[in-house]
């Protein structure tokens, strides 16, 4: 016997004890696919035959089966299943997970079972048990289909059991994962034949009327560039020419140039055509009228055609799902009455609204699936993305338009309705919000906690999966909730930056050679060295005007943009200052012709904002200046007393006197070092902004440009406001030319000699790899004096620096790479106009990683 089962099915083996179910299962299924009641008994009681354990054992069995089915895996239940009650649970389970229940019955004679059990000493239940099981099973046979098993196979002897060589697994009808398109997907037509023709022509199809034959219903449609049409159902009702729409659709499906899923209207017509009693309303009465002149043969063909339709399809390796009314993730690629009903009607709440129509529950609001879902059914004024779903029923029959969605181009092509063929019962879906926000933006107004808490895995383009540990998410949630700016602005957080490897020169902890060699050793040809400004990191999102803020960011009344810190906090505490600052940067961009040059109305800039003292006021006062003040108070007294002791001739006091003199010198240098980065801010003119990355503009993440491009394009903006904006000096090092290398080292010595913080070395290209390995996006190399405020005033005394040289960078570098990948991912998602939660997830990830413990001095 040949046994065929659907790829995703729930297989119930049935048979009395000793009928050979477990051996059969082992022969035909993978061990992981089998969930056996005996095994579960053993798991919960250490005794595979314990009857007391039955209840617990089945809890475990169902638990495992649920997890497997949820993950879309075929599952075999190895239990006697001779009683109707036990099978009922299996049918319910199959329904819950929308997979098909299959029964494979091993109806071996009672004698065989008895004989087998006698050979098994662990099975000591009496002969009457097996007899009873056999009788129960035999009685059950004729009811199995009625109980809900879609496939039933009965094997009546050992020979029949052995004759089963192979169990054939078949793909579901809705599985078209091999079909990759390109497609033109067309929404609800409702008899609007003229508009359909016009739309097809606009899409490049040529329609020729032909004589109807068995293969063709009157239209020959030639197709451009191997494209295929997908019709989303509701071809008929309400509109002027449903029969011709059917003819065209059926012709194309027959010719293999179109796929087609049914709509609720279509299936009602099918019911009517087979003679079931249906109410002739909602436009069906018009279709029926239009069909009166059609031949019986045509009507029969229509009925057959509609009956044959599959409720939804999964295309392109699971990336595209189409259904008339859409489909939730857990139903995609599955088959059950519930799936079919969802495809036809969507989700309703059971209530009726003031227009007498069922209240639809917008499943798309909660959609989290990976596949894009294209659907129709609910007329909307404009087709708009919401959480990777798009409703393209733009209400043609109600005087709207007929829309096609081109895949994979993701373009929308529409033709307007020639007239209002039918007055809608209620105006086309009222906008949920009065502002000019898109549905996605309105929906994104509120994020969901489920998208951020717990252990998370974020997929990034640059570095695949990045795991965020729960404790880090906990910390990030607090920071994000309490301090961060409106998440709609937050399209990026910068990665941490590692310092270079420790120098082997005696007087230096950091030296440029190590920073440069990091890249040289990894095969990078060229790097850029940028002066490191000592201020505070600032991310700026600036819009050309408030309209852009509203339209692109979905933010109203928050001004032209934002300036936030590396942890997403507002940079300025004073809103008036912030507003003035943003507006100055905005004016500089406008004046420099930035918006036109980049064809954008917003930009995200990565920058350093000085002075340090502007933002780090409390850190300076509580820590840096405080230490200076304490030392300045204490050390002179120490010097004085030691000097007196030396003068008294106390032996051994001299070296300590000298040592503390050295310490005093260190403190002076230390105070000088931090003072260098402080100045008083009285007005905006006292700030300096040094942008170094143009991260993103409309439709572009500029991580594909090299750093010299960034430097040059920024340098072109700066003259527009030289008081505020500052271009960053840089040097290019080509490892083929040692002079450039030496030149960079000399430059660094010169910069840091003047009190500069140091420099940042980056690969010439924004994103650099060594083989598959993502490299550090930047390495910093800090000056000798600057490091005093990091490692302490006396860090460079010989006894200290030798100890400080022992430091490990690997943790910091690993963090930097992960954060970099997440940051770029966030930008790319924003530019692709993904839902906010997807952008937020990445940004949140950066913040979560930042809470990992790592030496803050590196």
């Amino acid at each position: 016997m040949e046994i065929k089962i659907p790829e995703l099915s729930l297989v119930a083996l049935m048979g009395a004890s000793g009928s050979g179910k477990s051996s059969f299962a082992r022969k035909h299924f993978k061990p992981t696919e089998i969930v056996s009641s005996d095994t579960c008994r053993g798991l919960v009681s250490d005794d595979e035959n314990s009857l007391f354990a039955t209840s617990d054992a089945f809890d475990v069995l169902y638990y495992i089966a649920r997890k497997r089915l949820k993950n879309g895996l075929l599952t075999v239940i190895d239990a006697t299943n001779v009683q109707q009650e036990s099978r009922k649970g299996i049918i319910e389970l199959a329904r819950e997970y929308h997979c098909l229940p299959v029964a494979i019955v091993l109806l071996l004679s009672e004698d065989v079972c008895q004989a087998r059990n006698q050979h098994r000493p662990d099975r000591n239940f009496g002969a009457h048990v097996i007899r009873q099981q056999y009788i129960q099973l035999k009685k059950s046979l004729r009811n199995l289909k009625k109980e809900g098993f879609r496939y039933v196979y009965v094997l009546r002897s050992e020979e029949e059991v052995n004759a089963v060589q192979h169990i054939q697994r078949e793909k579901l009808y809705n599985d078209k994962k091999d079909e990759t398109g390109p497609f033109d997907i067309i929404g609800d037509i409702h008899g609007c034949f003229d508009e359909l023709q016009e739309l097809l022509q606009k899409l490049g199809y040529t329609i020729v009327k032909v004589e109807a034959n068995e293969q063709n219903f009157g239209f020959n449609v030639s197709v451009p560039d191997n494209r295929k049409i997908i019709f989303l159902g509701d071809f008929i009702d309400r509109g002027p020419d449903s029969p011709n729409v059917l003819r065209l659709v059926m012709s194309m499906v027959n010719a293999g140039t179109a796929y087609c899923v049914p709509g609720n209207h279509d299936l009602k017509l099918q019911k009517y055509l087979v003679g079931k009693k249906v109410q002739l309303k909602h436009g069906l009465e018009i279709t029926v009228q239009q069909l009166t002149n059609e031949s019986e043969a045509f009507k029969q063909s229509v009925e057959n055609f509609l009956y044959s339709l599959i409720s939804h399809y999964v295309f392109d390796d699971g990336k595209l799902v189409v259904a008339h009314a859409g489909l939730k993730e857990e139903m995609q690629g599955r088959g059950s009455a519930a799936v079919r009903a969802f495809c036809l009607y969507g989700e309703t709440t059971g209530e009726i609204d003031e227009f007498g129509l069922p209240v639809r529950y917008n499943w798309a609001k909660e959609y989290r699936g990976k596949a894009k879902v294209v659907y129709g059914h609910t007329p909307v004024p404009e087709a708009e993305w919401l959480n990777k779903t798009i409703d393209i029923d733009t209400g043609c029959v109600f005087g709207g338009k007929l829309t096609a969605f081109r895949y994979p181009e993701e373009e929308l092509v529409s033709v307007s309705a020639r007239q209002v063929y039918c007055e809608p019962a209620k105006p086309l879906q009222q906008q949920e919000n009065t502002l000019a926000f898109s549905s996605q933006q309105a929906y994104d107004d509120l994020l969901d906690i489920e998208d951020v808490i717990g252990k998370r895995i974020v997929q990034t383009r640059l570095r695949h999966n990045i795991t965020l540990r729960e404790e880090n998410s906990i910390a990030a949630l607090e920071v994000m909730s309490r301090f961060s700016v409106n998440p709609k602005w937050l399209m990026y957080l910068p990665p941490t930056m590692s310092s270079c490897a420790t120098s082997d020169l005696p007087d230096f902890l950091e030296y440029p050679a190590q920073a440069l060699n990091y890249y040289k050793k990894r095969g990078v040809q060229k790097v850029i060295c940028e002066e490191k400004h000592m201020g505070s990191r600032a991310i700026l999102v600036i819009c050309q005007n408030e309209t852009a803020a509203t339209q692109r960011f979905g933010i109203a009344n928050e001004g032209l943009g934002i300036c936030y810190t590396r942890t997403g906090r507002n940079f300025f505490n004073d809103t008036a200052v912030e507003k003035a600052f943003i507006s100055r940067v905005n004016m500089a961009l406008t004046k420099s012709g930035f918006w036109e040059k980049f064809d954008t109305n917003w930009v995200c800039l990565d920058a350093e904002l000085m002075p340090w003292s502007a933002k780090a006021q409390s850190l300076l006062k509580d820590q840096y200046a405080a230490v200076g003040a304490a030392a300045s108070g204490a050390l002179p007294e120490v010097q004085k007393t030691l000097q007196m002791a030396v003068a008294r001739g106390v032996e051994d006091a001299t070296p300590f006197y000298e040592n503390f003199q050295q310490k005093t010198a260190c403190i002076h240098q230390y105070i000088h070092a931090y003072q260098h980065y402080c100045w008083q801010v009285n007005s905006l003119d006292d700030y300096k902004l040094a942008p170094f990355h143009i991260l993103a503009t409309e439709a572009a993440v500029h991580t594909d440009k090299n750093h010299e491009w960034h430097m040059q394009n920024i340098a072109e903006i700066c003259p527009a406001d030289p008081q505020l904006l500052m271009a960053t000096p840089y040097k290019i090092v080509d490892f083929a030319d040692q002079n450039t290398f030496d030149d960079a080292v000399a430059w660094w010595l010169q910069l840091t000699g003047k009190g500069g913080e140091g420099m940042v070395v980056k690969p010439y290209d924004f994103i650099a790899y060594q083989k598959q390995e993502l490299l550090q996006p930047a390495i910093k190399c800090r000056g000798k004096e600057y490091l005093r405020i990091i490692y302490g005033p006396e860090y460079d005394l010989a006894e200290n620096i030798t100890r400080l040289k022992k430091r490990g960078l690997s943790r910091k570098q690993s963090l930097a790479i992960r954060e970099f990948a997440l940051g770029v991912e966030a930008l790319e998602r924003f530019v692709r106009r993904e839902p906010l939660r997807r952008i937020h997830e990445s940004v949140f990830g950066v913040l979560a990683l930042e809470s990992e413990e790592v030496d803050p001095r590196l």
């Binding site: 107004d445 509120l446 994020l447 969901d448 906690i449 489920e450 998208d451 951020v452 808490i453 906990i474 949630l477 607090e478 994000m480 909730s481 309490r482 409106n486 928050e558 507002n570 003292s613 300076l620 006062k621 820590q623 840096y624 200046a625 405080a626 230490v627 200076g628 003040a629 304490a630 030392a631 108070g633 204490a634 050390l635 007294e637 120490v638 004085k640 007393t641 030691l642 000097q643 007196m644 002791a645 008294r648 001739g649 106390v650 032996e651 051994d652 006091a653 300590f656 105070i671 008083q680 405020i789 990091i790 490692y791 302490g792 005033p793 006396e794 860090y795 200290n800 400080l804 001095r857």
Partner: protein, 469 residues
């Protein structure tokens, strides 16, 4: 870092005997974080002076601090005031270098042990916690010292940054050496917020031993004990109990604050108790069976609600995981009976993210929560609470800004808490609640919290929202 003790006792050279240190030697003692040096800058019959100089190794301090699982930020940083201030390190060094004198022994001249000498002590520098000069004076004046203080400027180049918290301290008094050393031993670390060593029950012994004979009668003894035993409440209580020799200790109020409370803080505290009590009463009147406490903090309200028998379920939510841990501790969650435990659930969440866990409650409370949100994030909170969680009743409190004039120490336009993002007048609050009612189908009644003052209102205000209008 430097302690200088000078005496004009005749002969002043007796100082060397009583401290058991040779005047012509430069001695060094090693201890965990570095070295202590002892030397005499001045020796004569008229005037003799000894120095204890701490030479702390900041690198060793950071690195060993890290290994000691220390959460103390100050110790974890290389840029650190520890090497320059008189901290608990100084006490350690005192005990180590002058142990003989501290124990009241003097082999060569035993009569010196009980001799009162005129001392001048200078310490460079001490760090004064919030409380500042007054605190320092209050510690030493009751013991008979003359106190003079010289405050350090934070940074001479930036006078606008103001003064630092560091002082050069000079003390004068005539007393025995042992008394002097024990005073210093106890009081120097008292000034310091950042204790370097792990506080264990052993600390009590040290405190009691060194404080013998004077600490009991010191008017600031509670404060000294609390600050000396920084961060350990139960230890503080034990120590106080033992200090008062069986008398009841009056510290039932707030156990966790070591600082001298300002007037504002004290009044805020009692106000908070009033507020919690009122919220609990309102919930009792509603006979609610389940309550969601949004922004539960350390669980003060939850503790009150547990007393209400009709409440079967209390969910406390806070964004701060640290606060939730404290709440758990305060509620003695781990020691609760299973039945009690079932009633409580503490979850981390946020009022700016919608959350299924907030759904299905009869009452939700937001006690002094909304003012901790930036005004532009308030909309998110409104939707989370009133649109999605949609409890039958929402009890919400927030400060009444008009009342701020009653806090004398609060400057005009100053908010009551550094984390407050806004404070509302009664009108502003009423307008906001009205808008909530219109948008989310609630009805509201408003009432003051605390004693009302004409034209100003109560110190805090409450809104009770009821769903369905």
């Amino acid at each position: 870092m430097l302690l200088q003790i000078t005496t004009t006792h005749q002969p002043a050279t007796d100082l060397g005997y009583v401290l058991h240190k040779h005047p012509d030697k430069f001695q060094s003692v090693e201890f965990s974080m570095g070295k202590a040096h002892i030397f005499y800058p001045e020796v004569s019959e008229e005037k003799t002076s000894i120095c204890l100089l701490l030479d702390i190794d900041p690198i060793n301090m950071v690195r060993s601090g890290r290994n000691n699982d220390s959460n103390n930020f100050v110790l974890a940083h290389y840029v650190n005031d520890r090497p320059y201030v008189a901290s608990s390190f100084l006490s350690v060094a005192l005990a180590k270098t002058f142990s003989t004198a501290m124990n009241g022994k003097c082999k060569d001249k035993p009569e010196l042990v009980d001799t009162k000498m005129p001392f001048e002590v200078s310490i460079s520098v001490v760090s004064a916690p919030s409380g500042g000069e007054n605190l320092i004076r209050n510690l030493f004046l009751p013991l008979g010292y003359t106190v003079s203080l010289e405050r350090q400027t934070l940074d001479n180049k930036f006078p606008e940054w103001g003064e630092s918290k560091y002082y050069k301290l000079k003390l004068q008094h005539t007393l025995t050496t042992k008394e002097l050393l024990s005073h210093l031993y106890v009081l120097i670390p008292t000034l310091d917020n950042d204790k370097h060593y792990f506080v264990s029950s052993n600390e009590i012994e040290k405190l009691l031993q060194k404080g013998e004979g004077w600490l009991k009668d010191h008017p600031k003894k509670e404060q000294i004990a609390k600050r000396y035993l920084v961060n350990l409440n139960s230890l503080t209580r034990q120590a106080l109990e033992r200090l008062s020799e069986g008398e009841a200790v009056n510290n039932a109020k707030d156990e966790d604050d070591f600082l001298e409370k300002t007037e504002v803080e004290k009044r805020k505290e009692t106000l908070h108790d009033v507020r919690i009590k009122l919220v609990a009463e309102k919930i009792a009147a509603l006979a609610a069976e389940n309550v969601l406490d949004l922004g539960c903090g350390e669980g003060k309200l939850i503790r009150q609600l547990l007393k209400q028998k009709q409440i079967k379920k209390i969910v406390g939510m806070d964004v701060s995981y640290g606060d939730l841990l404290k709440a758990k501790e305060r509620l003695h969650y781990d020691q609760m009976s299973p039945k009690q435990k079932e009633r409580i659930q503490l979850i981390q969440g946020s009022l700016t993210y919608k959350d299924k866990r907030f759904e299905g409650f009869e009452v939700a409370t937001l006690v002094e929560v909304i003012e901790h949100l930036d005004p532009n994030r308030l909309k998110a909170l409104e939707r989370v609470v009133f649109e999605f969680a949609q409890p039958k009743t929402v009890i919400l409190t927030t400060p009444n800004k008009e009342y701020n004039v009653m806090w004398e120490k609060l400057a005009a336009d100053q908010l009551r808490h550094t984390d407050h993002r806004f404070e509302w007048t009664r009108k502003e609050f009423a307008d906001w609640t009205q808008q909530i009612c219109e948008n989310y189908k609630y009805e509201v009644s408003l009432l003051p919290i605390g004693e009302e003052i004409e034209n100003i209102g109560g110190p805090s205000q409450m809104a009770i929202f009821t769903y369905g209008n």
